[in-house]
């Protein structure tokens, strides 16, 4: 279980970083999204892996999982979602204004540099 979750986070972050370094805006936005998914999972498991335990008080429960990372991950998801929407709009607007979806505004300047 630990290995599965850890490698899942690793793969998400690795793919995210790879896409983040691409030269077109759409892969960059996808990369940011994947990165934030990886980070959200990371936050979640930082409360330790505890399957089948409730986070809030339950008379039947013998043990609890840490509720705080679950609250934190909610905040992170909300902010990450909002920022994804924003960066999509920004990328579309940049495409409309500069006529290219290259992150430097045009592919030529990217090569020249």
């Amino acid at each position: 279980m630990e290995l599965l979750v850890a490698s899942g986070i690793g793969v998400l972050v690795a793919c995210g970083v790879y896409l983040l370094l691409r030269a077109r805006t759409y892969p960059v936005v996808l990369g940011l999204t994947l990165l934030s998914y990886g980070v959200n999972l990371f936050i979640f498991v930082m409360g330790r892996m505890a399957p089948g335990r409730p986070p809030v008080i339950d008379p039947q429960a013998s043990a609890y999982t840490d509720p705080l990372p679950q609250a934190l991950v909610l905040t992170a998801i909300v902010i990450g979602f909002g920022m994804t929407a924003f960066s999509v709009v920004l990328a579309l607007r940049a495409r409309a204004e500069t006529g290219s979806d290259h992150v430097d505004g045009s592919a030529d300047t990217g090569v020249a540099r």
Binding site: V28, L35, S36, G38, I79, F86, S87, T98, V103, D104
Partner: protein, 524 residues
């Protein structure tokens, strides 16, 4: 409980919401924003005077006791940053009211959201809350950076958003890693937990601490992570760029706060974890940013690189890690923020005087107001390079004094003094290009007088120059305030006691930190 402590967050939050609703009523927006910003200056001045006696104000939200609820903490460092923010905000706003706020509907709302994020970041005593306020100020800054729109702004804006989102992802990794190791998010509580951490947790705690350092280095624009700054700042509208002068200082503030309180000398397994990195990185930042300043093709790019240089200077003071040097860093922080704001506003005034060439350093017809702009530019150059008698000189002298007993004092002196010289050369080169190396051919077009700097344009500049002069004249009281703030930071037990009350853990925290006293003696 002093309820004024939360006012710098609640007031902008509420007015920002109202400003969004006011939509297209520009007159009302302007009046409300100006009133709130003036109110913030008054409140923050009051808070700064209240904190002057060394009392640490703690505001527990919802009256939940400290490690469980979120707290706001006002000490001298927070008070300095709050006051500085509101003064820069007032100057930027006064400049924006001259017309550049009209190119988008939500300038004023975003401006107040930015203030809310900044004030919140300076006040919060909770690590995750720090992340939230960072996000608030960053999201507002994305909007403000794009204010006015246009291709170059969108391009730089996308870079800025991408790097800051990556930074936020790292922030979350760092903060949750530290939570996993300590089980708390309250900064004071985390300081106690880190100090008492077993040796087996050392690797992960240190990793968390250094990930946070990378995040703050992105915000502050330190060496390998500053490349986003010149692009972003030089395309922003003048009042926005002037306001952004405080943004890099948020990173500096966070480093000062976290690496003295949580990972300071008393932090056990993670003691002084950032210190081996800060000084070399800060010096290298200064060198490269000064080279950038020499190679700049326009006044705004020049001002952007000078921003990075000033950040480097502040981090030299932090990296030396003595009370004297830290005090100098805080004094220089106040000075440089005001000066950089002044330079960005001045660059815009000069640009308006030069027609299509704007502020690019190319030969064109003479500016229409050479005497006025020339003197202002000379003043800005003297202030930013740290030439006597202005406050930049005093700040650097204090910094050099703070460095004199340090093992690498020679490097610090050489880089700080050398960069001052080359900054002066960069400013002299720009100045002679702008004011002397001009076409006197009568055929070249001249700008119409509507573009000239009017008296009202000069009000915000006068405000900022007034601050520099005040920092120079009242350098004694200002330096005593920063010295007291630096001493508080070096003795974090006072902060922890104010937040958590006395506890057995705090007693051992004080005892395990004899190094603090030793270091205290070293610098003075």
């Amino acid at each position: 409980m002093n309820h004024w402590i939360i006012a710098p967050i609640v007031l902008p939050a509420m007015s920002a919401a109202i400003l969004v609703l006011l939509g297209s009523k520009l007159g009302l927006q302007r009046a409300l924003n100006l009133a709130v910003t003036l109110g913030l200056v008054a409140i923050n001045l009051n808070l700064a005077m209240g904190a002057a006696d060394g009392s640490v104000g703690v505001y527990a939200l919802g009256d939940w006791p400290a490690p469980f609820g979120i707290v706001l903490v006002l000490d001298r460092l927070s008070a300095i940053m709050l006051l500085l923010t509101s003064i820069i905000a007032l100057a930027s706003l006064l400049y924006a009211l001259r017309g550049s706020d009209a190119s988008g509907k939500y300038f004023h709302a975003l401006f107040q959201f930015l203030l809310m994020g900044l004030n919140g970041a300076f006040l919060t005593g909770d690590f995750f809350n720090l992340f939230v306020f960072f996000e608030v100020l960053l999201i507002a800054s994305y909007g403000l950076l794009l204010h006015g729109s246009g291709g170059p702004r969108l391009k730089a804006g996308f870079h800025y958003v991408a790097i800051n989102l990556t930074g936020s992802a790292l922030f979350l990794i760092g903060v949750t890693l530290l939570y996993a190791m300590t089980g708390t998010l309250n900064m004071a509580d985390m300081a106690l937990k880190v100090a008492a951490a077993p040796a087996g947790d050392a690797a992960l705690i240190r990793a968390g601490a250094l990930i946070m350092l990378v995040v703050f280095a992105i915000k502050a624009a330190l060496l390998p992570l500053y490349f986003w700054l010149p692009d972003a700042y030089s395309v922003a509208k003048a009042p926005v760029a002037a306001m952004f002068a405080i943004m890099t200082k948020v990173g500096a503030y966070a480093v000062i706060r976290i690496y003295t309180l949580i990972f300071g000398a008393a932090a056990g397994v993670a003691a002084d974890v950032a210190m081996p990195w800060l000084l070399p990185v800060a010096l290298a930042t200064m060198v490269l940013a000064t080279v950038g300043a020499l190679a700049s093709g326009s006044v705004r790019v020049l001002a952007s690189y000078l921003t990075v240089t000033s950040v480097g200077t502040i981090f030299v003071g932090i990296g030396l890690f003595t009370p004297t040097a830290l005090s100098a860093a805080l004094y220089y922080l106040a000075h440089s923020t005001v000066t950089i704001s002044l330079l960005f506003l001045l660059a815009d005034l000069i640009g308006r005087n030069r027609g299509d060439v704007r502020d690019r350093l190319t030969r064109t017809f003479p500016v229409a107001q050479p005497a006025l702009l020339g003197w202002l530019f000379l003043l800005g150059a003297a202030a930013v390079a740290g030439v006597p008698p202005l406050s930049g000189f005093l700040g650097k002298v204090m910094l050099l004094q703070g460095a004199q007993n340090h093992a690498h004092a020679v490097w610090v002196w050489a880089v700080v003094l050398g960069s001052a010289l080359f900054m002066l050369i960069a400013m002299a080169r720009a100045g002679s290009m702008l004011f002397w190396h001009v076409d006197t051919d009568p055929d070249t077009a001249r700008v119409d007088s509507g573009m000239h700097a009017s008296r009202a344009d000069l009000v915000p500049l006068a405000l900022l120059i007034g601050c520099i002069v005040a920092l120079t004249i009242w350098a004694g009281p200002a330096a005593r305030y920063t010295a007291a703030a630096a001493n508080d930071l070096m003795q974090p037990a006072g902060y922890i006691r104010a937040v958590l009350g006395d506890s057995p853990a705090l007693q051992s925290f004080g005892r395990s930190a004899p190094a603090v006293v030793e270091r205290g003696g070293q610098g003075s």
